[in-house]
Symmetry: C2
Subunit: 206 residues, 2 copies
């Protein structure tokens, strides 16, 4: 009914909380969301498509974009850069489409600095015990790594204050419903829509 | 899971926009909401129950409560007072239950002054034309009254800026879904829940 820019939603939370599972289920149910496509310097793998799986760049190109503040966040894993291109996000929002970004806490805090108008959702574990179980059950981590990850998770939970919403991931389907309610209600915020509504009235009164 | 105070939701909007219909349908679907019970000086009618339909007070009692700022809003129709008692609302919220208030724009603005922490939802007509039709179709109003009400409605729409959300009442069930999303997401706001979540963690770490 009214023309409106899209909203950037950021789902984040401690390691092991289930961000990926929630995001996956959300995308099955909310087809109008656009997942943010990352940029990387790693090699394209067989079957991957540029602009679908990732935007593939050389290290020189990537570092130039960092300098120009063209990345909402970025990090280096092993010897490859990964990041979120500002231009792609802004162009998608401009078309009136929401963008959804699922990301680690450190990355989310970078996005918050570069794009404070985003809506930041913190996924919270039902309990520390449960979080520990989930990390252990991945089975890929040593005892020492589990302890470290749990310590890290506690630190990350302290960073909750930078977020707009807290969603507890007790059951995936409940967490997804909560995120959907946030997406819906954010589009109803008066400061986003009042101008357009008043314009509709003015047009009718002409 | 966490203990939390209830939230006061205020649904308002211009005359004829369909506030009553939306509220009624919402209450059929959201049984956990508590409808705010008004206070009045009018006589109790057969079948009505004090503390259920209204809180019934004498004019002297009511005017004393006005003086003591014990009403979130009030108005006088013909020779009777009607108002929203602060104490009832606050006690219900304290129990962790949400309170829902459906009210005229003037009353909502009074509530906003006395209880700014409420969540204010403005119900918006799909068009001025549609609003006019709805007022005319009530059939009880003269041509002159319709023109006046429409003029009034335009003024009320200008007051949208005092509200937190704008919900267009294109179809009742859509409007109700939007209000339900607002109720759900307001309970997920970080500033409401972060303290309790952090406490849960501290308790676990003891």
């Amino acid at each position: 009914m009214i023309e409106e820019k899209g909203i950037l939603f950021i789902l984040s939370g401690p390691s092991g909380v289930g961000k990926g599972t929630v995001r996956k289920k959300l995308f099955e149910e909310a087809s109008e969301l656009q997942y943010s496509i990352s940029m990387t310097t790693r090699d394209m793998r067989p079957g991957e498509v540029d602009g679908v799986d990732y935007f593939y760049k050389s290290v020189e190109e990537f570092e130039k974009l960092i300098e120009e503040n063209q990345l909402l966040e970025y990090a280096k894993y092993v010897s490859n850069y990964y990041g979120t291109p500002r231009k792609y996000v802004e162009e998608t929002l401009e078309k009136g489409q929401d963008v959804f970004l699922e990301i680690e806490v450190q990355g989310a805090l970078q996005v918050k600095e570069n794009f404070p108008e985003g809506v930041f959702i913190f996924l919270f574990p039902p309990s520390l015990e449960e979080l520990k179980n989930r990390i252990v059950n991945r089975g890929t981590e040593s005892q020492e790594l589990v302890v470290n990850r749990l310590k890290e998770a506690r630190k990350e939970i302290e960073m909750m204050d930078a977020y707009d919403y807290v969603v507890v991931n007790d059951r995936v389907e409940h967490a997804v419903d909560r995120v959907k309610a946030i997406i819906k209600s954010e589009h109803l915020k008066r400061e986003r829509v009042a101008k357009q509504y008043k314009k509709i009235l003015e047009d009718e009164l002409k």
